[in-house]
């Protein structure tokens, strides 16, 4: 028996495979396709204080081995989530991590305190969304601003706090260190790369929002590099994501230093990919005589 269980910031997971925020809705959409409790954790779509309409369409565009999205945080707001959606999700035996997005530091604090005690297992602080004008990625690109947000969140909740970083920076390690200093219990990386596409027939940007976030296999090398750099520089666990489609992809992140991983855009390619990733990691461990996943975390730089 391979021990695949991991703990991220106090959140105990039976295996290291989560689904990435925004790519799995609130989980319920996929509940009939497979038993959600086969996953390590579910991360929700970003929640804002008020219900938020999001950006006008078109919101997505396919690119080579990836896609651009500019959803713009559409969500029913934290109240509806806590009162109506979370009770449904709790029926599954699986930690639920709420991805939160404030437009101000104060909103981040408000979201954190509102969700405390509701039964979510942790918070993922989204200071890296490239698709909103206020807040969003801006917080995540300046170490000082990022730290302020994290301090506000940590002081408003007893929940484990995972901070999600953007790769659209010169020095992701500097941001990582700043938020860990500010109290983050774990980091998750990466959010999408800022990109865009142009419709050559209309001679206009394809997305109504002009720019969007690039995700999918295309960005995997950038994500692995970010995990490699950050996991060596900080002492908190890292959740790796960015283009993970298969068990081998996930293992790249784990060997690079991730304690857990999230499957994002691959859910679109194959909605069963997250559970397949779990199986493939397990098979790899068996083949390689690995008894506990911990032996693999960061092995590419530890050994």
């Amino acid at each position: 028996m391979v021990d695949l269980s991991v703990e991220i910031a106090g959140i105990r997971m039976k295996n290291p495979v989560m689904v990435a925020s925004g790519t799995f809705g609130f989980g319920l959409e996929y509940a009939q396709l497979f038993d959600l409790s086969r996953l390590g954790a579910i991360v929700t779509k970003a929640l804002t204080v008020e219900p938020w309409p999001g950006n006008p369409p078109p919101r997505i565009w396919e690119t080579p081995a990836g896609l651009l999205n500019a959803i713009g945080l559409q969500n029913p707001g934290v109240e509806v989530f806590a009162d109506e959606i979370l009770p449904e999700l709790k029926k599954f035996d699986i930690p639920v991590i709420a991805n939160i997005a404030g437009f101000t530091k104060e909103e981040f604090a408000e979201l954190a305190s509102r969700l405390t005690g509701t039964g979510v297992s942790g918070l993922e602080v989204n200071i890296s969304c490239p698709n909103v004008k206020a807040g969003g990625m801006v917080f995540g690109t300046v170490p000082e601003l990022a730290a302020e947000v994290v301090e506000a969140v940590v002081s408003s909740t007893s929940l484990p706090v995972i901070v999600k970083l953007t790769p659209n920076v010169t020095d992701i390690v500097a941001v990582a260190k700043a938020v860990v200093e500010a109290g983050a219990h774990a980091l998750s990386l990466i959010n999408t790369l800022l990109g865009m596409a142009i419709d050559i027939h209309r001679k206009k940007p394809v997305l109504a929002n002009v720019t969007g976030g690039l995700s999918g296999p295309a960005i995997r090398p950038v994500a692995v590099r970010a995990v490699w750099q950050v996991s060596q520089a900080v002492d908190v666990p890292v959740v790796g994501m960015g283009g993970i489609c298969t068990g081998s992809d996930a293992l790249e992140f784990i060997l690079a230093g991730a304690t857990a991983v999230a499957v994002g855009s691959a859910n679109f390619y194959d909605p069963l990919s997250s559970v397949k990733v779990v199986e493939e990691i397990e098979n790899y461990c068996i083949e390689h005589g690995v008894e506990s996943l911990h032996e693999l975390v960061g092995a590419a730089w530890k050994n």
């Binding site: 925004g22 997505i60 855009s265 859910n267 390619y269």
Partner: protein, 262 residues
């Protein structure tokens, strides 16, 4: 309405070209055949690797329930549909479905007007066959640029009357589909309009529905990533300016429910 869906690897039974660049694809997919409603769609993986990465939405065109088969009618637009068109009987394709909310209709006999432009007839045949089996009285209007693009006319005519119009007059009348629609609505009585086609046609249906006071349902298209309501990528605007997911609240909407842009 958005009931059970599954991910299945389906075997191709037949693939025939029915017009330039247009194919009729028959798959063995008993679960989907059993669960599908007219207007619903599936997400089909159109590659073995990551190119293209996203699945492609295709309407369920016809269901052969007893045989456990489903049919798609599609036009080759880009690399996904091109890949699909090269698949041969015996090969398998991965599909997710049936998805979305289809057409809504009563079991009682009524008078229905079906309006399909070009490849827009795709979701309408399944509907026509269901309605015909409920003994609805149907008129189907098919519009196309030219005769070769008039798709599946025979199949529709087994369900009711069919009127064809082409831009170059090479089949049926010469003119635009919306002209035919307007005349039809002027001359005959209908309880409901069901339409599918490019945006100008949908807008026309929306307008005539309002003007003639006849409820209409239209099937929309939007680029999709997940197809199941999870990614919020495929929205259209509701009358109250909120966003509705085409894959979940749609693809079929009451014509007065949505704002058609662009």
């Amino acid at each position: 309405m958005s009931g059970f869906y599954s991910e299945v690897s389906s075997q191709i039974v037949e693939q025939v070209s029915v017009a330039p660049d247009c194919y009729l694809l028959t798959l063995k997919a008993p679960q989907v055949a059993a669960a599908a409603n007219p207007g619903q769609f599936v997400m089909l993986r159109c590659s073995t690797g990551y190119d293209p990465f996203l699945r492609r939405p295709l309407s369920i065109h016809q269901v052969l329930r007893e045989q456990g088969k489903i049919r798609f009618l599609y036009r080759v637009k880009g690399k996904g549909t091109a890949w699909l068109s090269e698949r041969k009987p015996g090969e398998r394709v991965s599909l997710l479905g049936p998805l979305g909310r289809g057409f809504v209709y009563s079991e009682k006999k009524k008078k229905g007007l079906l309006v399909g432009a070009g490849i827009g007839v795709a979701p309408l045949l399944f509907l026509a066959e269901e309605l015909a089996s409920l003994e609805w009285q149907l008129v189907t209007l098919i519009g196309a640029r030219t005769a070769s693009q008039v798709l599946r006319g025979d199949a529709f005519s087994r369900c009711g009357a069919v009127k064809v119009i082409t831009e170059d007059g090479s089949a049926g009348e010469r003119g635009l589909l919306l002209q035919l629609l307007e005349r039809e609505l002027r001359e005959n009585d209908f309880d409901v309009i069901f339409g599918c086609g490019p945006l100008p046609v949908l807008k026309g249906i929306q307008e005539f529905s309002r003007r003639f006071g006849i409820p209409a349902q239209i099937a929309l298209e939007e680029r999709m990533a997940c197809g199941v309501g999870a990614c919020l990528g495929c929205v259209c605007q509701a009358r109250d300016r909120t966003y509705l997911r085409v894959c979940r609240e749609g693809p079929v909407f009451a014509a007065d429910e949505v704002i058609l842009d662009g």
